[in-house]
């Protein structure tokens, strides 16, 4: 199972460099050293996911950390498009938010996100979230992208 988890590639859609670094460091601080591919906009993320740039590889596992507020195509819209796409809808998506707005969070769950993280993430709280994420990392095995 450890091998399966370490094979998971973390995708991060985050327009703020500081936020991206903070999230990455907190992953590292709890021992998650999976490769991270970062996108700065929703469009860049969709381009990767839909394969217009060298995108997701068949047979590999992914987890997407998705910032809600990004200029242009925002996180909500990316999530909506992913869940409407048979090929992408099983990739677990963890929303990154700066607020704990219950309506925003409810909307994300309605659209099918797996979990959410409120920024800034404190070190000790992060361990807790990783534990929760651990569950997803385990179930990612069944959501491997099938060869198209």
């Amino acid at each position: 199972m450890a091998d399966e988890n370490s094979a998971v590639t973390i995708l991060m859609a985050e327009d703020d460099d500081g936020h991206a670094l903070l999230v990455q460091q907190r992953f590292e601080s709890v021992g998650v050293n999976n490769p991270i591919i970062r996108f700065r906009t929703g469009q860049e993320t969709m381009n990767f996911l839909s394969g217009t740039t060298p995108g997701i590889e068949p047979g590999k596992s992914y987890l997407l950390l998705l910032d809600i507020r990004m200029p242009g195509l925002d996180g909500i819209e990316v999530l909506r498009r992913m869940k409407a796409d048979a090929r992408l809808k099983r990739i677990p998506v963890v929303m990154l938010t700066t607020t704990d707005d219950p309506r925003e969070i409810a909307l994300c769950y309605d659209l099918g996100c797996s979990s959410y993280l409120t920024k800034p993430v404190e070190f000790d709280k992060f361990a807790e979230v990783i534990k929760r994420l651990g569950l997803f990392l385990n179930i990612i095995r069944i959501s491997k992208i099938k060869a198209a």
């Binding site: 500081g18 936020h19 700066t98 607020t99 309506r103 800034p120």
Partner: protein, 349 residues
């Protein structure tokens, strides 16, 4: 009315003299209706006239038929009232009103967007300050076993043990304070975006629930909430509950230091509205502060307990207004305050 001397008008064609060209046919039609006895649709009628100086004025006409003893129509009596100014004022009012609604919506959107965007830099301030705290600890730990020249150890101890943590403490405290202000703003803006779904609110049931939810605070303060039979109102039930909870909770929080809080709630139907009063025996608000109580972040000194967010009364007012009501307050320092909450009355049946 038209500015002509009487003799200048006699014998002249009314339609050609006083009616703007584009409206002549329509007004002739009305006139024909009147003289043929078909008065009902044109008993009251507004149209424009041109004055001698060429100005357009709006006239509201009242038309009556004159009949002889046999019931035959002998003529028509028409009186006109110049309503130009009234009409202009009405239009201005409508425009002002819609401007106001638009401004309010703009304000709510503005609040929503700014509060979300203000959070973004704070994430970096808080996040990287936490990183620095961690790095300092690591650095201090790494340097602990090193042998250092005389004086340097003392300097480092002062920096690591005092100066740097102190500086970071202020940065983080400032950021957290800012964060709680933004959170408070966000709450107000969220409330502003919630759609009100008015239904009949039974006030006695509502107050019973609120009293029971405040039971702990009431017991602690030895306080009481009193009310008789209250008329229902038409409001969003969640908003009504929140706003009355807030008013009653305030009355307990800001109680007079020498006496137990007693809050009296009354209600009276006044036309299409119900006027509720919430009267307390608290310490009251100084006259000079009365206008500020509705301001965001205004916080009167609280005799008991910690500081609040300073958004209670602005939220109350927002909820009252979103339900088509109004609120005002009277207060006497040392004696107590009365809140007057006006909400639409519940429809009969």
């Amino acid at each position: 009315m038209l500015g002509y001397p009487r003799e200048d008008l006699i014998g002249r064609n009314w339609f050609e003299t006083a009616i703007p060209e584009g409206q002549r046919e329509m007004v002739k039609e009305v006139f024909n209706n009147i003289i043929s006895g078909n008065l009902a649709p044109v008993e009251r009628f507004d149209n424009e006239v041109v004055t001698r100086s060429g100005e357009l004025r709006t006239i509201s006409w009242t038309n009556r038929l004159r009949r002889d003893s046999e019931g035959n129509i002998t003529g028509a009596l028409t009186s006109g009232e110049d309503i130009t100014d009234r009409k202009r004022a009405e239009l201005e009012l409508i425009k002002l009103n819609s401007d106001l609604i638009e401004k309010k919506q703009e304000m709510e959107n503005f609040l929503y967007i700014t509060t979300h965007d203000l959070r973004s830099p704070l994430v970096n301030i808080v996040g990287f300050s936490q990183n620095l705290e961690l790095y300092i600890r690591e650095l201090r730990g790494a340097l602990a076993p090193a042998s250092l020249p005389p004086g340097i150890r003392e300097t480092l101890d002062k920096l690591f043990g005092d100066n740097i943590p102190n500086a970071l403490k202020f940065v983080l405290e400032g950021a957290h304070r800012m964060d709680s202000l933004i959170t408070a703003l966000l709450k107000v803006s969220r409330q502003g975006q919630v759609k009100m779904k008015p239904e009949t609110v039974e006030m006695n049931g509502l107050l019973k629930n609120i009293t029971s939810s405040l039971r702990y605070q009431l017991e602690e303060a030895g306080g009481q909430i009193e009310y008789g039979v209250l008329p229902p109102c038409s409001a969003d039930p969640a908003a009504a509950s929140k706003l009355f909870t807030n008013l009653l909770d305030n009355a307990i929080k800001y109680r007079h230091k020498d006496r137990a809080p007693v809050v009296n709630v009354t209600g009276e139907v006044k036309g299409a509205m119900v006027l509720y009063t919430v009267a307390d025996n608290c310490s009251g608000i100084p006259a000079a502060d009365l206008s500020r109580i509705w301001n965001l972040f205004y916080q009167p000194e609280r005799p008991h307990g910690s500081k609040g967010e300073g958004i209670g009364l602005p939220m109350v007012r927002l909820m009252v207004e979103k339900n088509g009501g109004a609120i005002r307050m009277e207060s006497e320092e040392g004696k107590g305050s009365v809140f007057y909450v006006e909400l639409p009355a519940a429809e009969e049946g």
